[in-house]
């Protein structure tokens, strides 16, 4: 469960979020939408503890993460899956190594690690690319690898920032279908996206932001 309670976030004088409140129950999937600069990324950054709220509280499950200690942040992030807006695979490592990173960070034994990594690659249908380097993949394939890496450790919550940003509509649809499938397996998913036309076709909740305020919440 993700819960925002009267959360405000400012960068200097720039207000990014203004008293935002919403709850995303466990197992639900929702889209965050709004114009560029509306505050979508800021919401994800607060959940990831990349930023601290200036006012209000952010909860993950029943736990407030607003005043979490710095050294507890890594542990918290290991329980989340995150797909960033920009490409962020390690270029000098293979696809397999990239996908295995969350498990390596969590110090998994290598036997368990490779099974889980290959399973995640299966999920995005890219097992055959396991030994490629990221630059040998297309944009759509890279994005699927990003997803595989975000879900390899089976996080309870998955966050994605513009996951279909640079992809053509066909690929974008495939990716969204993949999220849909993950959600049906019980994952709580929050996706920031300004591609309204694409989102509108899916039967999921849509939270609309405008200038840092939550202006719409459609189921």
């Amino acid at each position: 469960m993700i819960r925002f309670d009267q959360v405000s976030k400012r960068y200097g004088k720039q207000t990014a979020l203004n008293q935002v409140s919403f709850t995303l129950p466990e197992g639900d999937m929702a889209f965050l939408t709004g114009h560029s600069g509306a505050g979508k990324t800021s919401i994800l950054r607060l959940i990831l503890c990349q930023e601290k709220a200036n006012a209000g509280q952010v909860f993950l499950g029943n736990r407030s993460i607003t005043h979490i200690k710095k050294r507890q942040v890594p542990l918290l992030r290991r329980q989340l899956g995150f797909i960033a807006q920009e490409a962020n695979l390690l270029e000098d490592q293979t696809v397999f190594q990239n996908v295995a990173l969350p498990l390596i960070i969590d110090r998994w034994h290598s036997n368990d690690l490779s099974g889980r990594t290959l399973a995640a690659l299966d999920k995005v249908q890219l097992r055959h690319k396991a030994n490629c380097k990221p630059h040998e993949l297309s944009g759509g394939e890279q994005q699927r690898i990003n997803i595989a890496r975000a879900i390899v450790h089976k996080p309870a919550i998955l966050l994605a920032d513009e996951p279909t940003g640079n992809l053509d509509p066909e690929l974008a649809k495939d990716i969204l279908a993949l999220f849909d499938e993950l959600n049906r397996c019980g994952m709580t998913i929050l996706i920031a996206s300004h591609a309204l036309d694409l989102i509108a076709t899916l039967p999921h909740r849509i939270l609309t932001l405008s200038h840092g305020q939550l202006v719409g919440d459609h189921a």
């Binding site: 050294r71 992030r77 960070i105 998994w108 034994h109 890496r149 450790h153």
Partner: protein, 309 residues
């Protein structure tokens, strides 16, 4: 999140993997890394060379075994019996290694053998030489100051007219070794600092090249120690390899020098061969330089990485 029960790899295997990986990483930029290691090796070889030379000078000095001596000139009225009693008493003193009494007659004989003075004694009618007791203090051990004090004490004994310490060179060697030792420590510290700074700078550059990677890892929940560890190992490996190279250079140098040194020593001493660094000194050199590398990396990471986390 479901987890297999014993999922965590041991710390030991994790560190071993980091270490092996950082060795492998070095092969990615062989030329740059070789240069870094070479510079480190040079910085380590210089003070080590100092130590090596000092060690051998000391070995030579020990061989010559030139003892300091205290000569006690006895008063004219002292007879042989009194002199023998004094000799025995001196023998029991703490700082004294050995004592020899040279009677006036023995003294004259020795002098006569060299200078042929027969006629002089006849002219004088009497032997003008005093009896002498030669005291050899324990050495090495007492400082020149302690020897001086001993000499003064012996000079105050009855039957002793005068006491003389033959100390010039002792003092000099003592102070030279003192200077050499301080110089060695000073130079060693400077070069150790140089090694730390060289490695810190190399690691700093390497960190700035890996900024994107660190940002990614941080977002995936990597702890600070996870991110810092490879850099620390890299610094350690730089230092370690620099130390190994320095040891090899030292070995080559001493091999190269050993023949001329033997030729030289043949003209002085029976035989003297260069003392090599022993296993312990080599281990200290290599592991120590590895630790310097670790310190350098620690310095770089503590100033550079904090801003990412």
């Amino acid at each position: 999140m479901s987890k297999p029960t014993r999922r965590q790899a041991s710390y030991l295997s994790m560190h071993a993997r980091s270490f092996i990986r950082s060795l492998g990483d070095l092969t990615r930029q062989p030329i740059g890394n070789a240069m870094t290691i070479l510079v480190i090796a040079i910085a380590i070889v210089l003070p080590a060379l100092f130590y090596f030379v000092g060690m051998n000078v000391k070995a030579v000095a020990d061989r010559w075994h030139d003892q300091p001596q205290i000569s006690l000139y006895l008063t004219n009225h002292t007879n042989d019996e009194q002199a023998r009693q004094l000799t025995e008493a001196l023998q029991k003193r703490d700082l004294v290694a050995s004592v020899i009494y040279i009677s006036p007659d023995q003294g004259w004989e020795a002098l006569d053998q060299v200078l042929h003075l027969k006629t002089l004694k006849e002219q004088l009618g009497t032997n003008p030489l005093p009896g002498i007791i030669r005291v050899t203090p324990r050495w090495p051990g007492p400082t020149p100051e302690a020897l001086k004090k001993l000499t003064d004490q012996l000079g105050d004994l009855s039957h002793v007219q005068d006491a003389e310490l033959d100390v010039g060179w002792v003092k000099r060697l003592y102070y030279i070794l003192n200077i050499a030792q301080r110089l060695l420590i000073g130079v060693g510290c400077l070069f150790a600092l140089a090694v730390v700074l060289i490695i810190a700078n190399t690691i700093r550059l390497s960190i700035s090249k890996h900024e994107r990677e660190m940002a990614i890892l941080t977002l995936l929940g990597a702890s600070k120690s996870f991110i810092v560890r490879p850099f620390l190992y890299r610094g350690f490996v730089y230092g370690l390899l620099g130390g190994v190279l320095a040891r090899v250079a030292l070995w080559a140098l001493s091999n190269w020098l050993s023949e001329p040194v033997q030729q030289l020593s043949a003209t002085y001493l029976s035989q003297f061969s260069l003392h090599e660094l022993d296993a312990l000194a080599s281990a200290i050199l290599i592991v120590g330089s590895g630790l310097l590398g670790w310190v350098g990396a620690k310095l770089a990471t503590s100033t550079q990485i904090a801003k990412h986390l």
